[in-house]
């Protein structure tokens, strides 16, 4: 089977700045890869590039068999990205948000409920506006939206940030079971020991370039 992500010497720019300066990375299906590196190293850009949001300036990039250089929109329905922003509507309730994002990929009501239960949002918090939640609860909601989207490739940017201990455990368990079910997971995280125990491989990102560690 083709790899989930295959980047060769990828350069990507934001304005005039090369956020990625020659990234080469191969991720097989069902892997859980941890990206680590200092702030500004290009971890976030790497995830956005894989999600088809950031155009490939030079090099070649194939994600889930889709050539990002020629058509970076085709990959989008099949990946799930949790960025720094949660992508939630503050005026809507938790249930509304999860339902909406699930519906964009045609998820059923059962799948939406399962996703909310998975992140512990099914009962008390379901009908609370997202704008009134704590940062950690919002992160949980965003993760529930991601679960409901049934993505083949999960791209998570600092997913542990703001979560309490229980939330982190639930997240790790979710990612593991997603990988067992065949999804590929790429996580950018500062939480090295936690994410490190989760990951099958650690990749070091520095200065917009990639070196593989371990």
């Amino acid at each position: 089977m083709e790899p989930a992500v295959e980047l060769v010497d990828v350069v990507a720019v934001l304005g005039a700045f090369p956020v990625l300066a020659g990234a080469t990375l191969r991720v097989e299906r069902s892997e859980i890869v941890l990206l680590r590196g200092p702030n500004g190293a290009g971890k976030t850009s790497l995830l956005r590039l894989c999600a088809g949001l950031l155009p490939v300036e030079r090099g070649t990039a194939t994600v889930l068999g889709v050539d990002l250089v020629h058509d970076r929109t085709a990959v989008r329905t099949r990946v799930g990205l949790l960025g720094h922003a949660n992508g939630l509507y503050a005026d809507l309730t938790v249930a509304d948000n999860v339902r909406f994002w699930g519906a964009t990929v045609g998820a059923s009501a059962e799948e939406v409920n399962a996703a909310m239960e998975r992140m512990g949002l099914a009962d008390r918090l379901a009908d609370v506006s997202v704008g009134r939640l704590s940062a950690g609860q919002r992160r949980r909601t965003a993760l529930a939206c991601l679960i409901a989207r049934r993505a083949e490739l999960w791209l998570l940017d600092e997913p542990h940030a703001g979560l309490d201990a229980a939330g982190r455990d639930e997240l790790d368990a979710t990612l593991r079971s997603a990988a067992v079910a065949g999804a590929t997971v790429i996580v950018a995280s500062h939480e090295l020991e936690r994410a490190g125990s989760l990951a099958t491989r650690v990749v070091q990102v520095v200065g917009g370039c990639i070196r593989e560690a371990r």
Binding site: A51, G52, L53, R76, G80, D91, T104
Partner: protein, 228 residues
């Protein structure tokens, strides 16, 4: 992948739900629009002039309110990266465009009815029985046209630097035909300054043409404008 129409319904339903729960349009934009109608009276300071120009003032207030509603409609999308999330979700630009435009049209239609009510109360405007059909057609076509234009340029300005000032610069010149057409048609429907109903129907044609042109143009162009 969902069809464009299914996505449109989803996005429109979401936008209306956001408004239903936040009440920003009903609690802030409607009072703003009503206030404009009062301010017009201060500026023009003559009952007969007000009665003469009432249809124009109604649509002028509708257009300025539209600017505010459009800003709000896209602030909702950009505040927490939802527009990016929509793009990652593979939601096509055409679906976002039609959905947001329909939700906008629904809110704008209610606002315009309130403005018409304000004109009746404040400017001594009278509804004429024979003009009701014309008035209804004017409201339908003009509201759709304004919503399409507002969504199209609102999406382009969303996330850009200086979006608050860019939106009116881009949108108002394009929306000018709607202001002219809707005002003339409303004058004809209300019989303002001796206008008759038959004067109004050609303008409906123009308004309908406008709505269709920008409906199709926007559906095709929106994806490119928001970097789908």
């Amino acid at each position: 992948m969902l069809s464009v129409w299914a996505i449109s319904r989803l996005v429109a339903g979401k936008d209306l739900r956001v408004e239903w729960r936040s009440r920003v349009v009903s609690n802030q934009v409607v009072p703003f629009a009503a206030l404009m109608m009062v301010m017009f009276a201060f500026a023009l300071d003559s009952d007969s002039v007000l009665k003469r120009v009432a249809p124009g003032l109604v649509w002028l207030a509708a257009m300025f309110s539209l600017l505010v509603i459009v800003q709000r409609a896209f602030a909702v999308e950009t505040a927490d990266g939802a527009l990016d999330a929509l793009r990652v979700a593979g939601v096509r630009g055409a679906g976002i465009f039609v959905g947001k435009a329909l939700a906008l049209a629904a809110q704008l239609a209610v606002l315009e009815l309130i403005l018409l009510g304000a004109a009746i109360v404040l400017y001594d405007t009278h509804l004429v029985g024979s003009g009701i059909a014309l008035l209804a057609c004017t409201y339908l076509t003009a509201t759709l046209g304004l919503s399409f234009v507002g969504t199209l340029y609102g999406g382009l300005a969303a996330g850009a630097k200086g979006r608050e000032t860019l939106l009116p610069l881009l949108m108002l010149p394009v929306a000018a035909p709607v202001l002219i057409g809707a005002t003339r048609a409303t004058e004809a429907a209300l019989g303002t300054a001796g206008a008759t109903t038959s004067d109004g129907w050609p303008w409906i044609g123009l308004l309908a043409l406008f709505a269709v042109a920008f409906g199709i143009g926007g559906t095709l162009a929106f994806g490119s404008l928001i970097d789908e």
